[in-house]
């Protein structure tokens, strides 16, 4: 499975590839560092709403492509197999070649369909929504970011992007970090999560990030936004949430 998704990422301009089922549960994903499991789970949950909506109007849809100012989001229906319907979603940046992307996605979709028919994806690797019993554990390697391929760097702090995940002291701290990344993404784009990870390492270098360090983190992140209005908007959005 990973090999199939990784082949998509080998196309220039591809940022992430994921498969989710008809309930919006992430089945597996591969992506650059910022497209971690948390973001892909969030994306799956949002996209399944879009797909449910499309089916009201266009039941026999095969593909959906959304073009944005700074990239593309491409969805391909994998059909009903392995006990449910599945969708392949691919995120690309503005440099993505649409023709190459189409070919890569078609190839991957065919392989994924075969894998689904063979039952390769019957056990999602992501946890279900709260209150739902957890499925049996699957291999953690089925859904993890392709960290080794990132090659990202952040010149503002003159430090390379670390590859370890950020540890949080409690759920509130995790929620706060997610909010920071989401709001920051409105101003700096897909690098937001990387910036947040860098900032956490600066404000909480020796311990798991806790909500008591939230104020320092907010100051650190705000300093990265050059425009004063954007900075104020970011601070307001994060503190309001």
């Amino acid at each position: 499975m990973e090999t199939i998704l990784q082949a998509i990422l080998d196309v220039a301009g591809m940022s992430a590839a994921l498969v989710f089922d008809g309930s919006g549960r992430l089945v597996c994903h591969r992506g650059r560092a910022i497209y971690d499991r948390s973001l892909c789970e969030q994306l799956s949950a949002t996209l399944v709403k879009a797909i449910d909506t499309v089916q009201l109007q266009h039941e026999d849809w095969d593909s959906i492509s959304a073009q944005y100012a700074d990239g593309k989001l491409l969805l391909r229906r994998l059909g009903a197999s392995a006990g449910g319907s599945h969708v392949l979603a691919v995120v690309g940046d503005a440099s993505l070649n649409p023709s190459f992307a189409t070919v890569a996605i078609r190839v991957a979709a065919n392989k994924l369909r075969k894998a689904l028919e063979a039952g390769a994806l019957t056990q999602p690797t992501s946890p279900p929504p709260s209150g739902t019993p957890l499925p049996p554990a699957a291999s953690p390697s089925d859904s993890r970011p392709a960290l080794a391929n990132t090659g990202l760097s952040w010149s503002k702090s003159s430090s390379s992007v670390g590859l370890s995940r950020i540890a949080v002291a409690d759920p509130a701290a995790g929620t706060f970090l997610g909010r920071c990344a989401k709001e920051l993404a409105r101003h700096v784009g897909p690098m937001a999560k990387v910036y947040v990870e860098e900032a956490v390492r600066r404000v909480s270098p020796d311990a798991a990030f806790s909500i008591s360090a939230a104020s320092r983190l907010l100051d650190d992140l705000s300093a990265q936004i050059e425009d004063g209005d954007d900075r104020a908007q970011f601070r307001k959005a994060v503190t309001k949430g």
Partner: protein, 105 residues
């Protein structure tokens, strides 16, 4: 000529609907149930705008839904959403070109 009039004049476009981002119908051409199409396309657009925000992809410009027998092209124009049903689906690229040309003026 408005985008709606322009796009609905194309032979490949069977129906066209103009709505706002809340799914409220503004205008339509040859669509039997324009309110429903407006609601669906408005909600779809809003959901994909949210996905774009989550991914930091910037403003949503266009959506293409393609099936075996037909396709839908959805263009976001500020607060307005223009949806066109295209048959055959292979004609969607030609319809996109017309819309792009109109937007460039």
């Amino acid at each position: 000529m408005s985008d709606l009039a322009l796009i609905s004049s194309l032979p490949e476009v069977k129906t066209a609907v103009l709505c706002d981002l809340n799914g409220a119908l503004l205008d339509s051409v040859r669509e039997a149930d324009p309110e429903s199409v407006a609601a669906v396309m408005g909600y779809l657009t809003a959901t994909l705008v949210q996905s774009g925000d989550e991914l930091g992809l910037g403003a949503l410009r266009r959506i293409a839904l393609v099936g075996e027998r037909r396709a839908w092209l959805v263009a976001v124009r500020g607060e307005a959403v223009l949806s066109a049903q295209v048959e055959p689906p292979s004609s969607i690229a030609a319809v996109e070109k017309v819309l792009d040309a109109a937007q460039r003026g």
